[in-house]
């Protein structure tokens, strides 16, 4: 889980945030004013401040928000001037947009607001669809508009070039005022809510922002996106009534509360229409008591009624935004907020404490219990002195309110009272009947009657709400209240100054503590207005009263604020927690000294790894072993070593045809050696034609154990070198998942033991990832890169490391980074194990929770017929109407399951519009027939169509990986270097998932995660990046061309400029890898290219040379060794897709190598050998001439063939 923030506003308007990793509220210090409301998203936080303006606080990110402005300069040729800006009258503007229709002179571009700045000056784009143009950047054509080429031809009559300039949003981490539109906004906003970022697949930044004005109108902020965080304008949304509060969920849910207490549901919100189309009305949960507050999430709606009761709406989802019914929940809350993952926060109506709803899961959306978040605020002590001043400004804020146009209407009069109603209802809390009766009796003036039974409880917890809510009607209670207050007043001796200051602010700050029942400062304010206009003496009374109240508050703040912060508003829209999150919010002692001691303790424990005492123990134990055992190895062991046999029933995918699962007995026999090392043999006992037979494999010959978990079978595959050659592993299926992992863990430990491998992977380790995201690591031997006889790569032993990744990169200093399917960046923590490895197979330190999400896709297919048009009725020969991409397998919405039991659905099926080839508005792609190439629009020749549906699923596992928030990545590369090289700061480059090129600062051995990103500007998004041993950085842009970054060095880690390198003819590159000197790329058609002519003086090289086809990915290492993932490899028994291959014969004079050696696969997706800088040992070279050193090497392959023939015999 990345660290994220929960935002809250206290009753003085101070904004605080609480980190999911933190234990105290941090005040948002850079705000000069108080806030009424905040609404948070992950990237930013919106708020309404005391000046009634809307403010935006965009969280600082290493990735700047920048926008590319472009315009075209157009010229026409004439015989006199040649090309000149003298155009024909019918021509386009001399400066125009791409289409030529818009006049766009360079000086016509203005910064949209003061929060933007220009990043540089205008420059010419010298790249035409991946092809570099001449220096001036001109592209030629016969006439406008036409296809432009980079070459000038005899008939080129016009030319144009593109100018680029970037502007950058600069108001990061500060509250920037959104310029108001005075003409269209007659009244200030009273509520604001953002959400909607899940509606479209657009990457982060797109938001829906809804606001409510004091007059009850609803406004929508148009045009908020990543490139335009402020949005463009407010648009009023027509309403059937007057709204008091609105809530927008992350998805398409938007609910609002009407003055009258009913709820409004926005319908018709979709990807194309984030504003929605219409409102539907939902009655208040309690017909007698109207709703005052609503909060919506992805699939949930929570509401609070005027009696502070909490309600949960059943059956809410995208298709049914209105839901089906209310469920009454425990607790009395002033307000509720739903954050990410439908998690819920609330503020207690009595105690003003922020509560977290515990136990909310996707299957139990209503959660279990309310739990108070009891963490202190930062510098609570230091605040106390400041409290008077902040109080003062809070007063100013509310006095500002009073000057607002008087809008007190009859409707408001009605509304104004229910707070009192709400307040008193805490008295008859446990017997609602009398209350209801009271309502029945009084109907319209329901507020007056029930006041009588109310006796204010003068406790420190509740007195504010008592005082405030009872302000007007509580004259009878005033005495008791003020006496109580007086008692409190006597306490302090040094409070005189405060008395003065509180006197000074008297009436103006009467709204200081906002109405707890409404949590709505403006309603409060409306009350005051009414009070002031309607009944002056009363108001004076109430004002002085409440000023006393705030005074006491101030005192309390001074002496015991840590005990009891009072909150007014909370927003969890940016707070990413779920039911699994480990939060420190609840076990935090309020006593700050305790807090410090807790921290100091955890500090003293955590650097245990490096502590002297620990080192001492290791050293002494080693010494002890030497002293007590080394000279006595010949002694007999006291305990007889024995064989440990583990047996079980399994199914085996039999080797002979017809292949099928048959029941077998499976046994692992382990033998322990004297030094604790173990070895073993595994047996598969089966019946063949009634005859009992068995198959066996030596544990020390097993090269890898691959879990293949799916919904139908819990299977795993066992490979030996021979089985790898055959592409035919031993496939076994256990009865349950648990059993499978039991076996895998045991077998894995046995394999490692037999090879003497334990602990974390070495720095030289080779990492690879399967198409299921499982991570494997192999320890290279020095013979791996030897020539001419390297270790065959089917003999490499791979062991699994916990976690789930899509790609990984490393170098020989032991720095390893990975990227998940959800583009989250992870850094290797130095541990091992995790996942299903428990106990001894896993380190206790450095194992963390890791989550990943990915989408599952299915296709809806339709055929056109003349009568009914497109229908789900296909031809008998057609594919399934719901199918996978191939059309061969039926995949229905209900029948499709997540990839394995580890994955759980986290969203509903939704149409996927981001399909290559484009789609129409409903997501359809058309074609003449299945299967064919599809296009995103309908033509006369199309008879079939399909659309893709996506559903997100999530996996939660553990592994030695720590998240590097917050920027999502699509590629990463780390400087390969020799193990003994002393690099202090390790260059690391990455591509964000938006295509930005980033350079990581501060990556060292001690801080492998680095500290911050440096953005490297590019004129187009990138998709691959690689850095070589000499800091040569190569990238592949989205148009398929390559770029070389000039002058990258330790002094200038980001280099200075990009050199454009065209791709091989008619190919679009997709990946690049740079080793010591070699540069290899892979194109979209699976061709592997080597860059010719790369020299230190000309690092860009001269041309591309084709090396191989059938390549999915390449990794070039610090020895210029070349490893790939091959698409298809034919084995003796079967074909494998996604196979690790090693280029043989790579030598300094022959960097392209000779041929491929085939390793583990299929199903492999990624490999990095960039950590292996182990030079091949010299022995191998001498072995060419001297056969004797080779002798010990030969038994390995020979023995494996022997045992394999033995295997064949037993079959």
């Amino acid at each position: 889980m990345p660290v994220s923030l929960l935002w809250a506003v206290d009753v003085y308007g101070r904004v605080y945030s609480l980190s999911t990793a933190g234990q105290q509220w941090e005040q948002c210090r850079n705000s000069q004013m108080e806030f009424k409301r905040v609404t948070a998203a992950q990237t930013c936080c919106w708020g309404i401040a005391c000046d009634n303006s809307v403010y935006l606080n965009v969280h600082a990110s290493d990735l700047p928000i920048r926008y590319q402005e472009d315009t075209y300069e157009n010229q026409r040729w004439n015989p006199v001037d040649g090309f000149s800006d003298r155009l024909l009258p019918s021509d386009r503007w001399q400066w125009s947009d791409s289409s030529g229709l818009q006049h766009q002179p360079l000086n016509g571009f203005q910064l949209p607001s003061s929060t933007w700045e220009w990043e540089g000056d205008w420059h010419v784009d010298e790249n035409l669809e991946g092809e570099p143009t001449e220096k001036e950047g001109w592209t030629y054509a016969m006439d406008f508009p036409a296809a432009y080429t980079k070459d000038k031809k005899w008939n080129s009559c016009v030319r144009r070039r593109r100018w680029l300039r970037y502007r950058r949003y600069k108001a990061m981490d500060t509250w920037a005022k959104i310029p108001s539109q005075q003409t269209t906004l007659p009244d200030p906003f009273s509520d604001i809510s953002c959400g909607g970022w899940e509606i479209s697949e657009e990457p982060g930044g797109r938001l829906s922002l809804w606001a409510v004005s004091l007059q009850g109108k609803v406004w929508f902020r148009e045009g908020i996106s990543h490139h335009n965080p402020e949005g463009s304008s407010w648009v009023e949304v027509p309403l059937p009534g007057e709204v008091v509060q609105i809530s927008c969920g992350p998805g398409d849910l938007v609910w609002a509360v009407l003055w009258e207490g009913q709820l409004l549901v926005r319908e018709g919100i979709s990807r194309d229409n984030s504003k929605g189309t219409s409102w539907a009305v939902v009655e208040s949960p309690n017909p007698e008591v109207g709703a005052i507050h609503v909060a919506v999430g992805m699939n949930v709606v929570w509401a609070v009624t005027k009696d502070n009761k909490v309600w949960f709406r059943r059956g809410v989802n995208s298709h049914n935004p209105c839901g089906s019914g209310w469920i009454s929940m425990v607790g009395e809350m002033a307000m509720i907020n739903v954050g990410l993952n439908d998690q819920v926060w609330a503020i207690g109506c009595e105690d003003r404490v922020v509560y977290f709803r515990q136990g909310i899961t996707s299957s139990e959306l209503s959660g279990k219990t309310w739990k108070a978040i009891n963490v202190p605020r930062d510098g609570d002590r230091s605040h106390s002195s400041a409290s008077a001043s902040s109080l003062h400004s809070a007063g100013c804020f509310f006095s500002g309110e009073v000057r607002a146009p008087s809008v007190a209407s009859d409707a408001e009069l009605d509304i104004e009272h229910p707070p009192g109603d709400g307040a008193i209802s805490n008295a008859p809390l446990h017997c609602p009947e009398p209350c209801v009766d009271a309502h029945k009796n009084t109907s319209s003036e329901l507020c007056i009657e029930p006041l009588k039974p109310h006796i204010p409880k003068v406790t420190s917890d509740s007195f504010i709400s008592e005082l405030v809510s009872d302000r007007k009607p509580a004259k009878t209670d005033a005495e008791s209240v003020s006496s109580a207050v007086l008692e409190e007043e006597v306490v302090p001796g040094e409070g005189e100054v405060n008395v003065l200051s509180s006197d000074a602010i008297t009436c103006t700050q009467s709204g200081g503590p906002p109405d707890p029942q409404w949590s709505n400062v403006d309603l409060e304010e409306a009350q005051i207005q009414h009070v002031q206009t309607g009944a002056v003496p009363d108001s004076a009374d109430s004002c002085s009263l409440s000023s006393v109240a705030t005074y006491t508050l101030a005192l309390e703040d001074q002496y015991g604020a840590d005990e009891h912060p009072l909150w007014a508003w909370v927003s969890g829209g940016g707070c990413s927690v779920d039911s699994h999150s480990q939060l420190n919010w609840f076990n935090c002692p309020l006593n700050t000294s305790m807090l410090q001691s807790v921290q100091s303790m955890s500090l003293s424990v955590s650097p245990a790894q490096t502590a002297a005492w620990r080192k001492q123990i290791f050293e002494q134990l080693t010494e002890r072993s030497k002293r007590e055992m080394d000279n006595f190895r010949h002694y007999e062991q006291a305990i007889e070593q024995s064989v440990w046999v583990k047996k079980g029933a399994m199914q085996w995918w039999r080797d002979w045809k017809p292949h099928k699962w048959i029941d077998v007995h499976f046994a692992l026999e382990q033998f322990s050696g004297a030094d604790g090392n173990k070895d073993g043999i595994l047996f598969i006992y089966y019946n063949y034609h009634e005859e009992k037979k068995y198959l066996h494999a030596f544990i020390n010959e097993v090269t890898i154990l691959v879990p293949v978990l799916n919904h139908s079978k819990h299977t795993f595959a066992i490979y030996t070198p021979e089985r790898t050659k055959q592409r035919w592993p031993i496939r076994l299926a256990a009865a349950t998942e648990l059993e499978m992992y039991d076996w895998l863990a045991l077998l894995s430990v046995s394999c490692c033991d037999s090879r003497g491998i334990q602990g974390p992977p070495s720095k030289q380790a080779i990492w690879s990832i399967t198409c299921k995201g499982d991570i494997f690591v192999s320890e290279p031997s020095s013979a791996l890169e030897a020539t001419p006889y390297p270790t065959p790569c089917d003999q490499m032993f791979w062991r699994q490391v916990g976690g789930h990744l899509r790609l990984v990169d490393c170098n020989s200093l032991g720095i390893v980074w990975g990227i998940g399917y959800d583009h989250t960046a992870w850094v290797y923590s130095g541990g091992y194990g995790g996942g299903f490895f428990q106990g001894l197979a896993s380190s206790t330190d450095n194992i963390y929770t890791q989550t990943d999400t990915k989408s599952v896709y299915i296709y809806e297919n339709q055929r056109w017929n003349p009568v009914t048009g497109y229908t789900t009725r296909g031809l008998p020969t057609d594919r399934y109407m719901w199918s996978d991409a191939s059309g061969l397998h039926e995949c229905t919405k209900t029948g499709t399951k997540p990839p394995s039991p580890h994955w759980t659905w986290v969203s509903d099926w939704a149409i996927d519009y981001s399909v290559s080839g484009g789609t129409d508005r409903e997501g359809w792609q058309y074609a003449a027939d299945f299967p064919a190439s599809y296009h995103g629009f309908k033509t006369m020749k199309d008879f079939v169509r399909r659309r893709r549906w996506a559903r997100k699923c999530k996996l939660s596992t553990t592994g030695p990986w720590q998240e590097i928030p917050p920027i999502q990545l699509s590629d990463v590369t780390i400087l390969p270097c020799s193990a003994q090289s002393s690099v202090d700061v390790v260059p690391l480059w990455a591509i964000s998932n938006k295509g930005d090129v980033l350079c990581r600062m501060g990556v060292t051995l001690l801080t492998p995660a680095g500290t911050s990103w440096l953005h490297v500007g590019t004129d187009q998004p990138f998709k691959s990046i690689s850095i070589g041993a000499a800091s040569q950085v190569w990238g592949v842009a989205r148009d398929g061309s390559a770029f070389y970054r000039g002058s990258v060095s330790a002094q200038s880690p980001a280099g200075d400029c990009w050199y454009h390198i065209p791709s091989p003819a008619k190919q679009k590159l997709k990946q690049v890898s740079v080793g010591r000197t070699s540069v290899y790329t892979v194109d979209e058609n699976g061709n592997l290219w080597y860059r010719q002519g790369v020299t230190p003086s000309y690092p860009q090289g001269s041309s591309w040379e084709h090396i191989s086809n059938n390549v999915r990915k390449v990794s070039v290492g610090p020895l210029d060794q070349v490893w790939i993932i091959a698409d298809k490899v034919q084995g003796s028994h079967s074909l494998s897709c996604g196979t690790v291959c090693h280029r043989l014969g790579v030598q300094p004079m022959d960097p392209k190598g000779q041929s491929w050696d085939y390793g583990i696969g299929g199903g492999w997706d990624h490999i990095t050998i960039r950590g292996n800088s182990m030079e091949p040992s010299r022995i191998c070279l001498s072995s060419m001439t001297d056969p004797s050193p080779q002798a010990p090497r030969s038994p390995l392959p020979v023995r494996s063939t022997e045992s394999s023939s033995a295997l064949n015999l037993t079959m």
């Binding site: 006595f632 064989v643 440990w644 043999i681 320890e779 380190s843």
Partner: protein
Amino acid sequence: MLSVLFMTAGSCAFFRVHLCAGGPCSLCPTGKSNSSTMADDKDVLRDVWFGRIPTCFTLNPDEVTEREAEAYYLLLPRVSYLPVVTDKVKKHFLKVMRAEDVEEMWFEYEGTPLKWHYPIGVLFDFHASNTVLPWTITVHFKNFPDEDLLHCSSNSVVEAHFMSSIKEADALKHKSQVINDMQKKDHKQLWMGLQNDKFDQFWAMNRKLMEYPTEDGGFRYIPFRIYQTLSDRPFIQKLFRPVSPEGHAHTLGDLLKEMYPDALTNDGEQKRYQVLIHGIEPLLETPLQWLSEHLSHPDNFLHICVVPVPTD
């Protein structure tokens, strides 16, 4: 579903067959671990478990024998108990003795009867830590010193003692919650792991006994015993928490300061005592909780021997 059984190598016909089939080299490790890896706490557990003391057993010269008894050499596991690992010794000496001369076997080192219910490593550290190896133990078959030693008729007595120690330790650590949650077979697994020297088997279960809620910062109390030479009491055992009321992690030094301040060397003083755990002297600033998790004996107690510094 899954069954785990134990056989000695001799009794496993299958195994021998395959040993031959695979050739002896099939059971040799083919690769050595990468030595560059940083040491992990798991290695400590391993080192502790596989600690061995080379021992020379000699028969008490007073015993009546038919012919001269040869000394018997054995590597004794530090974490085990004498009766568990001395079957071979008994067998060896019985060969030269008449059956009627044999009573209950007991061991003595330099005149001190060795208490079988202390782990072997503790006996060694306490009595013989600074002697020349191998450790020479005298074997007796008569004159059982009833006042010094408990009788041990069979390994089940050791098992009962071992399990009661584990239970006592868990009572201190977790109010017995963990051990009580375990099933009978889990208890058996702990004992079998020790008896058969199966590190993985033992730790697969013992791991649970070493867990504690993170927010507590450690066990409730640390199960420890301090053995001292100059005292009538066999050992010191009191309640001691891993974390101070102020939230600091207690160290070995803190424990000794409270339990046995004489063991500590004051400033300017000559070091008088060695504080030995598993034959090593951990630094006094070592956190007690860590020690308890990693340097406890299989009985879950931290056995600390305070012995005088050798004079020579």
